[in-house]
């Protein structure tokens, strides 16, 4: 199963300047675990100490905020896209 994780420029710097990473897993959390295994520096900027979503990023699954779909437990399917966007914007 192939999921694409899209990173903003600031986080792409922690992943070899790659904005789009291929990942695998059954949930958003699994896909991120896969990405973090390859780029450990991303870990603290995607998950907090309790393993929950890091407070200054918002995760979208195919353009929808994952908090409306179970958070990191949101199931993913082949071809899905997970988009990571800094929270500090707008208003």
């Amino acid at each position: 199963m192939s999921i694409t994780v899209h990173l903003p420029t600031m986080l792409a710097r922690l992943a070899g300047d790659t904005h789009a990473l291929e990942a695998s897993g059954d949930t958003v959390g699994d896909a991120l675990t896969d990405v973090i295994a390859r780029f450990p520096a991303l870990g603290p900027r995607l998950r907090d100490d309790a393993g929950k979503p890091y407070g200054f990023v918002t995760f979208y699954l195919n353009d929808e905020d994952i908090r409306f779909h179970g958070g990191f437990e949101a199931p993913v399917a082949d071809g899905d896209e997970v988009i990571v966007v800094p929270t500090v914007a707008g208003g």
Partner: protein, 423 residues
Amino acid sequence: MTISVSPEAAATTTALRALPLLCRNCGAARDAGPAAICEQCLGPLEAVYDPARALPARDAIAARPTSLWRYREWLPLDGEPVHSPDTGWTPLLEAPRLARRLGIARAWVKNDTVSHPSLSFKDRVVAVAINAAAAFGIHTIGCASTGNLANAVAAQAARAGLEAWVFIPHDLESGKVAGTAIFAPRLVRVRGTYDDVNRLCAQAADRFGWGIVNVNLRAYYGEGSKTMAFEIAEQLGWRLPSAVIAPMAGGSLVTKLRKGFGEFLGAGLVDGALPRIFGAQASGCAPIARLVERGDDQIVPEIPRTIARSIAIGNPPDGRFAARIIRDTGGWAAHVSDDEIVAGIHALAEDCGIFSETAGGTTVAAALALSRQGRLHADDELVLCITGHGLKTLEALGDISAAAPVIEPRLREVAALAAAVGS
């Protein structure tokens, strides 16, 4: 992404310099630049002011032109602004009938419905952001907007001769769309809520390097909101009210009111206690008010369902900070139904002669709700921040002209009407 610079814009950079930045979360410092997010922790950046800078006294400020730039020492730029020199200094009107309705000693309306140039408080933040853009030599600005910011960006960019990309939800009120399109920006209507638009703009700023005022210019932009607090203090005769209520969308205005009042206290321009700060939201989109009620520290995002489109942000970026300030100052937050919002618009119009958009109706209705809850006191002096003009949201009022009789141009028809009402 590299920011592109026009020769004309670059020529303006010599006289204007933006202040350096500091992360509000981790304290990391960085140079001035079109960045709102800390490279270390992704927390929010804020402008850093030189604590040793010379600050003006009351009389020096009072002698300056009546615009928000009279408070330039508390705005994040060094040098003379090159754009939007005449924004700010809106009226502060005492509202005795509204005070009676609220059961408090005195009330005032800070009337940003007549803000120049686009009839909302967003003119303040854009005036600062567009000058920050000039300091950086950015020739394309933009925004994600629920309407008022779109109006302000489009108008001020037009006057400055800058290109503007303006992103709005596709189904905004017609007055807000027309009030943007008339200035001929690159107006883009996005199928989705404001939160969808905002996410798209965050990605666009990352990709294209535009100066999106509420994304990568946000550290400078937000400071413009403080001028509402400064003006309230000065217009009250250099003193602070006991309470202030403001509508909440992203939550930034509440945080900047607190910061502005605090800065004037720190400068010795006013004394006494900080006002209790109250927040107003629509029940159909009230993530910050509900956070205040719960008392925890996590925003629960909402999908907006309210006529108050200008404050319909389901994932408010400053929600946590706003909720904390509301609680720390001894204030509270209320959320009100769409019917109450419309009633609030009418109450403000009939009590004060001010025609507000839905956010103002929300603010008045929330103040009434807080009064009923006993959170306003009989000796309170309350300022209501009314942030946008009612002509922008006519849809909310329905067919308001239906109650007006239609007559032939004959005096006897007027006499009949007068007799019917006992005049």
